[in-house]
Amino acid sequence: MAQAITHQFEKNRALTVLKDLVSRPSGAIGLSLVMFHLVLAIISPYIAPYDYKLQNSYLMLSAPDAVHWLGADHLGRDVFSRTLMGGREALLVTGIATPLAVIWGGFIGILFGLVGGRLDEVLMRVVDAFLSLPWILKMLVIIVTFGSGTAVLIPTLAFFYGVPVIRIARAATHDVIARDFVWSAKARGHSRISIIWRELLPNVLDALMVEGAMRWSWMLLAFSSLSFLGFGVSPPTPDWGLMISDARGFMSFAPWGVIGPVIALSSLIIGINLTADALAKALGIDRAQKAPV
């Protein structure tokens, strides 16, 4: 019975939060942008008017017209088709890596927040040390050594972006841990895993969800920056970062090459951020207190 009531409550709460989220202008806009990009990533191979790797030397750097809506790039490929498909790789990689990062970082953070003591101190120093290194250095060292395939990028992103999650989860755990219900669970003799799963996790989940949304946007930023620098997706796979980097050289006489991917990438990242913002407000968490890490 009690179980059923809590379930009911949880369901209602999720619905309430979602309603609250959509009722805010930032949430509505953000969520629709994100949904749009997700749907686009799934259906783009079927609706793209041209093959993304089809080269046509007659069209090289040609201006937008009725046939090629965004013109053609330096290899004579249709920019519009490539822009439509440019987010697939990024969304795939970050879409898998984000939950992984939140899960492992969240678990470690909650665990050490619960255990506390000397071990926790040591772990936090290691986390600090990791955070004091620029992300791009950590990523590039791995990528240069092991290549930049999806199989390398997903675990690498998941690992490095999970480290700051540890901090958030730990802080959130500390807020919860002093409450009475955790004490009574301890007094009842519940195991650590059971306390984490049944008492801490439901209370830390809000913070983790907002953090996850933020990590997602930062991961996308990292992924496209890596592509832009030439360390990410390998050609001819269409990717916004790579497309911008390629088209940049011809920007003075063919600026249309950068416009498409710029708008696509920006709208996705802004969409995620607006959603995260609205989600944080809907859940009652102040997100502005956070700095870029």
Binding site: P134, L265, I272, A288, Q289, A291, P292
Partner: protein, 319 residues
């Protein structure tokens, strides 16, 4: 307070030590070393490889080499680059100077602007100026740096032709030669920075303005602006110090993309080049420098917060 300070310094030192261990062991664990890189295709020759490792002292146990490297780093000697001829400290020195210059200019523009905008948006919360500025800030914060940089180059150097879109100055040139080329990278950086700090200041101003003592001051009949400047702002700006510190640390270490876009000869581009060339000694040194700067800046921020916090100050004088 002194005890707290000593504790923070000690923790910072421990962090730097940990970083150096992580960097060293991380690079040690990766396949390949300076010799396989130096020899290139000749690395198949076991004898040559052995000889090279002997010359570069690479066949000694890792902990011994670590002690030597860390000891050298403390005295400012970072060792040799992988070509075995140039001292790392000379290569890195100029780049650090250039990165500092870029960061300093961006701070000079970004921080005051962020404070002013943060206060404005905080005081006029949810009204027109706040909505406009906050929306713009979200754009500035979330759009990838290479995107905004590309757009700014397109507009200001290609279409309007006002500013040079790329830095052609060499790494060792005197500071004066970086102008006006440095302007566009500074604008991009300060935009991002300004957005982050502004949001922080805004939420903190809103927080303080709704606090009891501000209400008390209003009820006592303190004029609005006097109340804002004397009672609210000093408390509201305190938490901003930490965000500013994090942003500065990010400026010094993480502006790799901007440096590449503008071809700016700073630490970030050196890092990319060193990683692409697998010049591991240089990578190690840069990582150590950036991490130390990060720790120092954060330490300075904590110290400033302690000094500026009226609560801590009164505790101190009462003693």
């Amino acid at each position: 307070m002194i005890v707290m300070l000593m504790r923070r310094i000690l923790l910072g030192f421990i962090t730097v030590c940990l970083v150096s261990i992580i960097i060293f062991s991380g690079i040690e664990m990766l396949p390949g070393d300076a010799c396989t890189q130096y020899l290139g295709e000749y690395q198949a020759d076991k004898e040559l490889l052995e000889q090279c490792r002997k010359d570069l002292d690479l066949n000694r146990p890792a902990h011994e080499r670590f002690r030597e490297w860390a000891g050298g780093a403390m005295t400012g000697d970072l060792g040799m680059a992988v070509d075995g001829k140039t001292k790392i400290s000379t290569i890195v020195g100029d780049r650090v100077k250039n990165s500092l210059l870029l960061a300093f200019c961006a701070m000079l523009v970004g921080i005051p602007l962020a404070l002013i905008l943060g206060i404005i948006t905080g005081l006029w919360r949810d009204r027109m100026p706040d909505l406009v500025i906050s929306t713009l800030a979200i754009f500035a914060m979330t759009i990838p740096e290479f995107v905004s940089a590309t757009l700014l180059i397109l507009v200001f150097s290609i279409w309007l032709g006002w500013l040079p879109g790329i830095v052609l100055t060499s790494a060792s040139a005197p500071i004066s030669e970086f102008f006006p080329e440095i302007l566009l990278p500074v604008i991009v950086l300060s935009l991002v920075m300004c957005a982050h700090i502004m949001r922080m200041v805004r939420s903190s101003v809103i927080d303080v303005m709704s606090s009891d003592y501000v209400q008390m001051a209003t009820l006592k009949g303190v004029p609005y602006w006097q109340m804002v400047f004397r009672h609210a702002l000093p408390n509201a700006l305190l938490p901003a110090i930490n965000v500013v510190a994090l942003t500065i640390a990010w400026l010094l270490g993480g502006v790799v993309v901007i440096e590449v876009v503008f071809n700016y000869p700073g630490l970030g581009r050196l890092m990319i080049d060193a990683i692409s060339d697998r010049d591991l000694p240089v990578v190690q040194s840069i990582a150590l420098i950036v991490a130390s700067i990060y720790v120092c800046v954060n330490l300075a921020a904590d110290l400033l917060t302690m000094l500026a916090n009226p609560k801590l100050r009164t505790v101190y004088t009462r003693k």
